[in-house]
């Protein structure tokens, strides 16, 4: 790496990022006698750790880890902090390069400032709320009527999220991204929260799923009567993995928890129909039959 450097410790190093990692790197380098430039794009070094109370996994106090390093960097003669700056370009190769920095203006003379904070408390615009205006989410026309009516039905009850998600899911079989954003805007729940809830439950999906959901019961009773093998057979016949949808969007194959027909084990369901005491040899017939039904249905409706 340092092939151009022949006689040991010369030159200087650049550390980009003044978080806990960057600080430690800068100190280590400086201790071994190298001049260090520590660059950060924030007005001060410290990074994310400065915002933490404790750290995983030992629950150590974050400030206790960081503060000694902050002080040491402040005092070290071989470390030069360049904060509120961003790297524009790097020219050269490892071991021998030039860096161009862009230093953002602070409107304060750093050499004279003592960090007393008086300017902050006296700033006339400081106490006015500065909110970034959120962009309004608009629904695609095909969703408007249904989704707004579902939201209006539930928005005034306590805990509206689950009923809304359930009804939207019943209507579309999955959650289009835009619809989730719209729900978030309308009932004022953070999108991150809604997404977490929507991905927690197994009957919700963020991807479109097939016309029929082919559920193979993996309850204990079915399992001991061989539903595991059935599932594999379905997967092979449909040429999809469990949880995936066939190319023609007809089937989504799923393994489900007990559907309570243990007397009929092993059981699979397609849409509303239940197939009990299923054997591996029946599988092709069932898949084809449903497929034909769907074709017939399409014919009649066109």
């Amino acid at each position: 790496m340092f092939e151009n450097i022949t006689n040991g410790k010369i030159g200087s190093a650049l550390v980009v990022g003044g978080g806990i990692g960057g600080m430690q790197a800068a100190l280590d380098l400086a201790e071994s006698g190298i001049k260090v430039y520590l660059v950060d794009n924030k007005p001060s070094i410290g990074g994310v750790m400065a915002q933490l109370d404790k750290t995983f996994p030992t629950n150590d106090c974050a400030m206790c880890t960081m503060a000694p390093r902050l002080v040491e960097i402040g005092r070290h003669k071989d470390i030069e902090k360049i904060t509120y700056s961003e790297i524009e370009s790097i020219i050269g190769k490892p071991g021998n390069f030039k860096v161009q920095l862009k230093k953002k203006p602070r409107y304060v003379d750093e050499k004279k400032c003592t960090g007393c904070g008086a300017c902050v408390s006296n700033c006339p615009t400081r106490n006015s709320v500065q909110l970034i205006e959120k962009e309004k989410v608009a629904l695609q026309p095909q969703y408007v009527e249904k989704v707004t009516s579902i939201i209006n039905k539930h928005r005034n009850r306590k805990g509206p999220l689950m009923p809304i998600l359930q009804e939207v899911n019943a209507a579309y079989n999955y959650f289009p991204e835009n619809v989730l954003k719209y729900i978030s805007q309308e009932i004022d729940y953070p999108l991150s929260h809604i997404t977490r809830v929507a991905t927690f439950y197994s009957s919700f999906s963020l991807k479109p799923i097939g016309k029929y959901t082919l559920n193979v019961c993996m309850g204990t009773a079915c399992y001991v009567r061989g539903s595991g093998i059935l599932l594999e057979q379905f997967s092979e016949k449909l040429n999809v993995k469990v949880g995936e949808t066939t190319e023609d969007h007809l089937y989504t194959l799923k393994a489900v928890r007990c559907i309570g027909c243990c007397g009929l084990a092993p059981v699979a369901t397609i849409g509303e129909s239940v197939y009990g005491k299923l054997q591996a040899k029946d599988i092709s017939g069932i898949i084809e039959k449903k497929k034909n039904e769907a074709v017939e249905y399409a014919k009649v409706n066109n």
């Binding site: 999220l161 689950m162 309570g260 007397g263 591996a280």
Partner: protein, 629 residues
Amino acid sequence: MAEKKRIELMVCTGTGCFAGGAYQIIDELKKELELFGLKEEVTVVATGCNGFCGQGPLMVVLPDNIFYGWLETKDIHHLVEEHFLKGRPVKKLMFIPPEQKEPLPLISDIPFFKKQLLIVLRNKGIIDPEKITDYIARDGYLAISKVLSSMNPIDVVNEILKSGLRGRGGAGFPTGRKWQVASQQSKSPKYLIANCDEGDPGAYMDRSVLESDPHSVIEGMTIAGYAIGSTNGFIYVRTEYPLAIKRMRIAIEQAQEYGLLGKNILGTNFNFEIEIREGSGAFVCGEETSLIHSIEGNIPEPRQRPPFPAQEGLWGCPTVINNVETLANVPVIISRGADWFSNIGTETSKGTKIFSLVGKINNTGLIEVPMGITLREVVYEIGGGIPKDKKFKAVQTGGPSGGCIPAELLDSPIDFESLQKAGSMMGSGGMIVMDEDTCVVDVAKFFIQFTNDESCGKCVSCRDGSDALLEVLTRISNGEGMDGDVEFLTELAESVKDASMCGLGQTLPNPVLSTIRYFKEEYEAHIKEKRCPALVCRNLIEYYIDPNKCVGCLLCIKTCPTEAIKGESKHIHIIDQEKCSKCGQCMEVCPPKISAILKITGKDINNMVQLTELISCKEWKKEHEPAHS
């Protein structure tokens, strides 16, 4: 109320029978009755789950109490003509006990029903669940009128305390104590939740209660609401139970119409509303704090207790969460008295418990038995033993949180404490019977896979612990087990138990621990001998065609999905083990008279004669027959 007819046909429309075509049977019955001009005399009622699901679709003829099972639409014409017109019950549709010839016509004579004691399921199959009048005719809503007219909330709590009723959801916490804590809270409003998020695989008690007798749950909830001082009830039902949700919805509407729910119930100043909330397929939501989060619309992860929900629950208010079965017990206790109830059962476990008896058993179905009955009585007398005369191996209770109870403990009583001592638990009431063809390693793996999938991921011990357990179990069942694996599993299981926050994590190692405790030799066989005694674990078994039996009929060759079997007509077929996916279809199609295909494991694999070239059956016989005789 409808006038009494000469005959009532109670056709079960629980999910099992529904799937078997109960509604087609009903349509056919109605058609045939009309044809014979019996429409005025005979009425057809769609009831909730009868319980004897293994016989579905089925019906009971009232008032004679005659039981007909395995109905098919083609039998109906004959049945209506013979029985309802001419008065001669049809023997061939009646229940015939295994290995006997004479059918048992009366439902009360069938051993499956004989040993049962119906308290919660008192109305199953007798009433139409979609008619409130049927429930009222069977003394329904008497308990709530007794409570509202002559009891203080404190009396109700005390009565339930005295009865010794314990929660039927699994842990068995005394119901009265829960109510007491909630009733003493000063904060309001208070909430009541009926937990019907029945996620255990192989268990469907709560669903049956909702489907066959929804009003008993409504009445129980109203009484509970009165006792704790709540006016808002929720019933949390799995979305996988559409029929239960539909019937509950109808029941709530009807109860509101009759003034039994809503404002000023029965003319008093007590108000109570019930709202249905649906789950969306997350097992952990059965845990009470998760369930609360789910209703609130938050991420359904459990939280640390205390504060218990009875102190701080839904939206921070005191909340009582009871299982559906628990609540269905309440009206009976109130009308018949705590003393009567506490006489049933054992010292510490009172009353009855519903179990879903499934798996390798002759009479699958839903049963309600008094606490303290032995497992032997359940398996052999009610369940009618194991099909095909196989050997009983174990019974799994308590779902993924429970354990396996081996044959040695068949005579131990079923109650909360005994099951716990045996390394299992009552759980919500799944009872899965396993015979000698069930591999315990495979079963343990299945349950850990389930809990691993369903773990919400909040606690590391549960999330990663179940991963590690699964990895080791998979290794063992793949024949890659190592010395010390059993000890490692035990140690890991114990730490998962200790370090997890909610019931899911604390109990998930039970299937592993209990199978190791009772079937250690089977684990050892997998690890040391690479042998699966039950012939289940795929990597340890091979399918093998017995040359002495094969007649070269080509059936298995045609069926094999991987084309792993080679052979010609009248030549002994050979399975190419490299290609074989071990699906077992060849064994299914091999005619039972010949049954030339065997499953083998362990040392047997090397001891079998390995044919490499095709040889005709005749030639083989010539070479080998004399040597045998």
